[in-house]
């Protein structure tokens, strides 16, 4: 879906309806999809461009999801991996909404607690719950702190 035009610029085919996530930190596109719960077995029609040249970021990733408009809580999860990402909601080829991502205060059911002794890693009917702090993600059940490599803990 992404190709160079003869003049050396970058052309990305437009989508009719859906969401374009632009300015994703280079290399994080696949993790962004994981955090949105989009895997090979889901039905969305996707276009992914990685390590695309960007004036502002040097390199960036772009993800386009056809026929699905992301909800705010989904969008904000992306901030954990790509705080500079920009979300464009597309209807009939036009950008009808453009917004940044905001780091949520609490995330539920997105990241698994790495502590094997945590009650959220059992068959109990609760979702993992983390508060988002400057120093990392703090498990509200067992107080574990995930300091880095959040992508590795995405459920």
């Amino acid at each position: 879906m992404t190709r160079k035009d003869p003049s050396g610029g970058l052309l990305v085919s437009p989508i009719k309806n859906g969401t374009v996530i632009d300015h994703i930190t280079a290399g994080e596109a696949l993790n962004v999809l994981r955090i949105l719960g989009i895997t090979g077995s889901t039905r969305e029609c996707l276009s992914i461009a990685t390590n695309v040249e960007s004036k502002r970021m040097g390199k960036k990733d772009i993800v386009k999801i056809e026929n699905r408009e992301l909800r705010t809580e989904e969008v904000d999860r992306i901030a954990l991996l790509a705080p500079q990402a920009k979300i464009n909601i597309i209807r009939d080829y036009k950008v009808v909404e453009k917004k940044g991502v905001e780091i949520p205060e609490v995330i539920r059911g997105v990241v698994r607690c790495p502590n094997p002794g945590c009650i959220t890693n059992t068959n109990e009917p609760v979702a993992s719950t983390f508060e988002v702090l400057d120093k990392g993600l703090h498990c509200l059940y067992c107080d574990w702190l995930i300091k880095d490599d959040i992508a590795n803990h995405i459920i």
Partner: protein, 298 residues
């Protein structure tokens, strides 16, 4: 509804209030039979002697009754029932639940499903707030907690009582001295949290280096299962053993505390010195738990 889950949930004024209430119960200035129409469930899914018996004693002293589950084997957990379901059902029988569970965060989860107050009596390697309160209470019986020097000795990596106590002491301007064998040091994120709370944390290589500065030495059990073999366990354990020889030149008001049970960390000869206060500390479990039970059910 008032749950007691983690020492992190408390402001200093709330801790002081509970300690004051415990003192009233301790000195007998309370009306007997205050909880005579109340029933508490003691759900202990992990072994415990002191905590379970002191909660039962506290409830009986207040005129209330308790029912208990003493092991996982004797409960529907073996049939695959979730803790959430157990708590929902037991909530409909009693006025409060005291829970000990092997998983960290179990009490937090229980408080979300309970329709009565939940008191955390220890959740795995996590929190044990009633122990911390009785530790603070024991210190406060001898000296004001503000600005003292407290040493934590032993397993500071897995020892939940040490973490909880350190967090509580950070509200009192205490200087914390940590003394732990290699590999059992306080986790970096807890030390960071303490420093963020404004606490001065000083790390020491051995107890001799720190003991003369201390007002309180809090000793915790070094757990044998943390070591690859018994030789390395004995090697470490013997170098962290408190003996009467170590006590030369310590402050007169030094108090040695231990959450018990002990496994050789403190030489029995130390029991006869005026510094040994761990049995008094264990006794204080009753007035503290009376204060907690009364507070959540009054």
């Amino acid at each position: 509804m008032y749950h007691i889950i983690s020492i992190r949930d408390f402001e200093r004024s709330e801790l002081d209030y509970l300690l004051d209430r415990a003192q009233e119960f301790d000195t007998g200035t309370y009306r007997p039979g205050m909880l005579d129409d109340k029933l508490v469930a003691l759900l202990f899914f992990e072994p415990s002697t002191r905590t379970r018996m002191s909660f039962a004693t506290a409830m009986a002293r207040l005129g209330g009754k308790s029912i208990s589950v003493d092991s996982v084997e004797a409960s529907s957990i073996v049939k695959g029932e979730t803790l959430a379901d157990t708590i929902r059902v037991i909530s409909s029988y009693v006025d409060a639940i005291v829970l000990r569970h092997p998983k960290e965060g179990a009490a937090r989860l229980a408080s979300e499903f309970a329709t009565v107050p939940v008191i955390n009596a220890g959740d795995g390697a996590g929190q044990h707030p009633s122990q911390t309160l009785l530790d603070l209470y024991t210190i406060r019986q001898s000296m004001p907690v503000d600005g003292i020097d407290v040493g934590l000795l032993g397993d500071l990596r897995y020892g939940r009582t040490a973490h909880s106590l350190a967090l509580a002491l950070s509200l009192y301007g205490v200087t914390l001295h940590t003394i732990a064998p290699g590999g059992l040091e306080m986790p970096a994120n807890i030390a960071l949290e303490l420093r963020e709370r404004g606490m001065e944390v000083v790390e020491h290589e051995n107890v001799e280096e720190a003991i003369r500065e201390l007002d309180v030495l809090y000793v915790t059990r070094i757990q044998r299962e943390r070591f690859p073999d018994s030789a390395s366990y004995y090697n470490v354990a013997s170098s962290y053993r408190i003996t009467t020889d170590l006590l030369d030149g310590v402050k007169e008001r030094l108090m040695i505390l231990h959450p018990l049970p002990r496994a050789g960390e403190i030489d029995p000869a130390v029991d006869r010195t005026p510094y040994a206060r761990y049995f008094e500390q264990a006794r204080n479990g009753v007035p503290i738990r009376m204060a907690l039970l009364h507070e959540v059910m009054k």
